[in-house]
């Protein structure tokens, strides 16, 4: 199965890498100590390649769960998820991992950089995971473009929140993925940093044509995406 996902060349600056995401009747249930929870309830949606989508909604509405399922990190209870030509919801974990490392870029609220790697190594690791060579020059260029080149040898706990998130963006785009999934990427940043991070994501999306899906509470961030989808109680409330 893993052979069906062909490794790609190191990304050029050309557009057109964006992947289509199609979700059909997606449901997700958890069992907790206080009883079953329905995190997603028959969600259906499509994100066209190269578009940017914001998913908004109150806490507990299932936004992050949906992002996790889109990223192949979790398996839905029922329903289908298709990313590009791949039926993600039916793939085994090794195949999903292969898909993630080559085609997906993740940005999390806390950055989630590896604490024992420097900024440049965090970026280089993703390149190596994607089957590319860790080219220090390329990494440096990327970090320079994100204005964190001076921090390349610093460890995550030596960076500010905004700096960490910019490095996280660099890590998410270094392998020029077809889809970028960002879960509250600005949730813990101040105003200036929020703008900077959103700019960076949109800039990459615009330059390389990657599909961008952002889960956010921040209306201002959401409105900068081409489409905004709202979720309530595990269901799609429709475009806003």
């Amino acid at each position: 199965m893993i052979g069906s996902i062909e490794p790609r060349e190191y990304p050029a600056t050309a557009k057109g890498w964006g992947l289509r995401v199609a979700v059909t009747a997606l449901s997700m249930r958890y069992t907790t100590a206080s009883g079953p929870i329905r995190a997603l309830d028959g969600v259906t949606m499509t994100v066209e390649p190269g578009t940017s989508v914001a998913i908004v909604g109150p806490s507990g509405s299932g936004k992050s769960t949906r992002l996790g399922i889109l990223g192949g990190l979790e398996t839905p209870t029922s329903g289908e998820v298709r990313v590009g030509p791949h039926l993600l919801s039916a793939m085994a974990e090794p195949d999903r991992a292969a898909l993630r490392r080559r085609h997906f870029g993740f940005v999390f609220q806390a950055g989630n950089l590896q604490p024992f790697l420097t900024a440049s190594e965090n970026v280089g690791l993703q390149a190596v995971l994607a089957g590319l060579a860790d080219e220090p020059a390329q990494t440096r260029a990327l970090l320079e473009s994100l204005d964190v080149i001076s921090l390349e040898r610093r460890f995550p706990d030596e960076l500010s929140g905004g700096q960490r998130q910019r490095v996280a963006v660099a890590r998410a785009i270094v392998h020029n993925p077809g889809i970028i999934l960002a879960d509250e990427p600005t949730g813990s940043l101040d105003g200036a940093s929020v703008n900077r991070v959103v700019e960076l994501l949109l800039q990459h999306h615009a330059t390389h044509g990657a599909t961008l899906v952002v889960v956010t509470h921040d209306r201002a961030v959401a409105e900068r995406m081409s489409t905004v989808l709202e979720m309530r109680a595990g269901r799609m409330a429709g475009p806003t």
């Binding site: 990190l73 974990e93 993630r100 879960d183």
Partner: protein, 1049 residues
Amino acid sequence: MSGQVTLGGFVQRDLFRNPRRTLTSLVGVVVGVGLFSAVLFFIDGSGASMTRRAVAPLTLDMQRVLTTPLGGGIRLEQTMADDALDAGDTTLVTLTIANDGFAPAHEVVVRVPPNVALEYVADSTDQNETPIVDVAGGSPLFQGEAGTGLNIGTVEPAVSVRITYRLRATASVASTADLPVRATISTREAVTPALANAPRATALQTLADTVADVPGVAAADPLVLVDMAAETLTARGIAVPGPVKLFAFDTRYLSHYPSVKIRSGSMRQGGALISAETARALSLSVGGTVTIELPGGAAPLSLDVTGITDLSGARPLFESREAGTLEKFRYVPFTVVVDPSVYSDQVEPAFEAAAAERDSALNSLPLEELDVLIERSILNSDPATAFAQTSGIAEAVQGVASGQDYLIDNISNTLHVAAEDAAVAKRLFVFLGLPGGILAAILTAYAGTLLAGAQRRENALLRVRGAARKHLLFLLALRTVAIAGVGSLLGTVLGFATVLALLGRSILFEASPAALLQSTLIGVSGGMLVTALALYVPGRSLITREIKQQLNISSQRTTPSWHRLPVDLIALAIAVALQLVALRLGAFDAPPGSVYAGQAVTLPLQLLVAPIIAWLAGTLFIAHLLQEITARAASGRGAQPFTRLRSGVLWRSITRRLTALTGGVVTVGLVVSLGTMLACFATVYDTAKVADARFQVGSDIRLTPNPTSDRPHPTALSAEFDVSGVAGATPVVFSSQNSVLTSDFNEDVTSLAAIDPDTFGTVAALPDSVFVSGTAGRMLSALRSTPDGILVNIALAEGLKLKIGDPVEVLLARDTDQQTRTPMRVVGLFTKFPGAAQGTDIVANLDFYQRETGLTDADYYLVASSDRSVPGLDRTVQGLSEVQALSAGQELQQNFEVLTSETALDRDQSSLTALNVRGLLQLDSFFTFLMAATATAMFVFGMLLQRRREYVTLRAQGMSSSDIRALVLAEAGISATLGTAIGVLVGIGMASQFVQVLRPIFTLSPALAVPKAELAVLAALVLCATALSSAAAAFQIGRLKPTELLRDE
């Protein structure tokens, strides 16, 4: 208060909703407290059997030996002329020595020590009205510094001697009757001084009846022993060919002392029991008639033989009761037992009559004694308390009609040694148990560190919600109490169950319920206190640090002080210095004797300090060193791009988080080093025990001709031993005090061993270390090349001022018809000699000895077995039993006492030492294995707890599960491997120090031994635990909820 309830509820939910985290901490506490409490229960169980084991081999608990058996004998009466005295007054003291017995009393000595209130009036002493000259200006009744008494010579029966002297009062004396009587009398026949005015001698049976009523006494049985001349025992005109011993006791004595065996027939009133040797010599059987020639002109005593006895196992009957040779065993094969009425009606009167004769030719008089059995069930399990009990009983027994006998208190002597052994045992338990306790605390602290690390996020969240430092500390305290409390309780149960499995129900429950309850309370409370501290302190420190970091008080990464300071080096230096001082001061040197010789040993507790410090500091030091080397290697590589995924991530993870790795390495290292030390210690202990047993036996097997054997045992017989399984055999002549060694300076009665230098070296257990003047080979060679040479015990040589090359004179075959005095020469010195480790004074060449004495018999034969295993020894003994010259158609054991190094070990187990070291080592090893597995699992699961977000992030980044598993396994594997390697290294070093404490316990100094197989098992176990833990951790990683974890801040 309501706030506290809320916080308590929070902690409860936190503990239950994070089962893995709770379990990780709990397991550390349970295993640690388990070991701690197991040692306590082990001491209870082992201690409970110490008294029982010590007294088990004892056949005679107490012996009251009457000093004047024949009708009371000599008596001393003291009177004082005045009832009261003023200062300066003088009074006349009269001493009357009367011989009421039937035999003369020889060398009668009267001694009167001075009294503070009364001083001797010069030249006032008279004997039968004849003045006695003062000695050196003082009383002739108390002469010189030693206070020697006045020897008045022989006092014939029915004769009395009167001695008078005057005393002057130095202060007024209200009543002279209240002054303590201090005059004593002793004779050659009754060497124990008897006080004046002692009550008249009590009849033996009366004494027995009274003593039997003393609380704590189970039985008091009269016994009479009479040594008689050869040829006094006859049948049909044929006499036995040697000296005769006559015993008088009743059937109750037989029932109380099972070592007295009746082979055939039974004891009947008016009849006689004769020994198997007598029966053989006189061709008698049950129903025959034996005649005993009595002294004093009495008619011969003819008795029906009602039974045949085997007294060869009844050692106490043949042990000397004389002060100079007390307990010396000298077997007499020709014996006859009569009942007490026959003795009192016919034997005793005959001896009284003979003793009353002027110029009596009696060589020895009857010896009467009361053999006392103590009620053993009342004895406390603690030998020290039991010793106090038996001493009290002995005092009460001696208090009955005192002054006419002396008491040999075997049971108190045995318990005194056992009490000291027990004290040593407890110290040794501490020696071996304390590192386990320390490790338990360390393991708990490690768990505490992991727990605290995993608690960081919760603490941060609570602070966001307004929790202050005191709230966090309170939560920590509640969590700590819960884990430490439950863990200590479970640990104590585990400890109890383990000891129950190890010692068995019967031994463990020999301990009193109070002792077990006390251990339970100590286990739970002590364990809880220690583990609570070990859990709380790291947690508190982390909370404080985090708060400081949040407040920007200190943003620096903190490392433990032992990382920053060379405390490990300093501690190591201290340990080495302490060990050197201890060695220099001879703290490990053995006192004379060994556990085999029934002597208590000493074991100062402070000797424990250096090895413990070396263990902790050594592990830290090596881990520190490795950390430095790794850090330098990492910094030398600089920033490198990723080339290989797994190795690139692994190298960076390890080298940049050395503190975390080192924590695991140190913990595993400490556990493994303890396990290594215990394995080495156990091996050394076992090896030393076997070596000691072999040294004690002399070789693998010792064949000692049975006293009941009627066959000759020439030294040349050893040539017949050439059978399958026998690697060599050598004859030895040895008996206690069989020679006298005379130097230019002095002389001493000595125990000589005559050996064949050609065969002894290859057969006997003869290490070079027992010689102070050369190797074993050189010493035997000297004995071979100098036939008249002797090897001398170093202590004796010092006493006689002898050195190598000095001429000496030796009386060989002392107290035999062949005794002869011969000039010899010292050719070597030794400290101890195999076969009779503490008893051999000199060693001579067997050929020379036989030439000089004309004696040809050996006292025992040593046999080396080609296979020293237990089945091998059994096979060799079996082979020997098939040698016709040895067995003579009978069982080998009928002609020889067969002692192997294995049976010597068994004897040691059952008789002397209460040191169940092997058991404790098994207990420690079990918990060490458990702790090794726990430490490894804790490291792996701790890593998982702390790094789960890293792992799910790597998953999100696309790293495969197999790569993540490989990372976990590799990091845990490196930690476990390094920890194991360090542990083995430090453990061996620690063992080299610890085995020093065994030196006082064994005859031969034990040397360090490394059990490779056991260490391989330990290492394999640690690595298996690592693999299993890593597999379990990887499984857990697969089950983590990424969405939830990745959103966490």
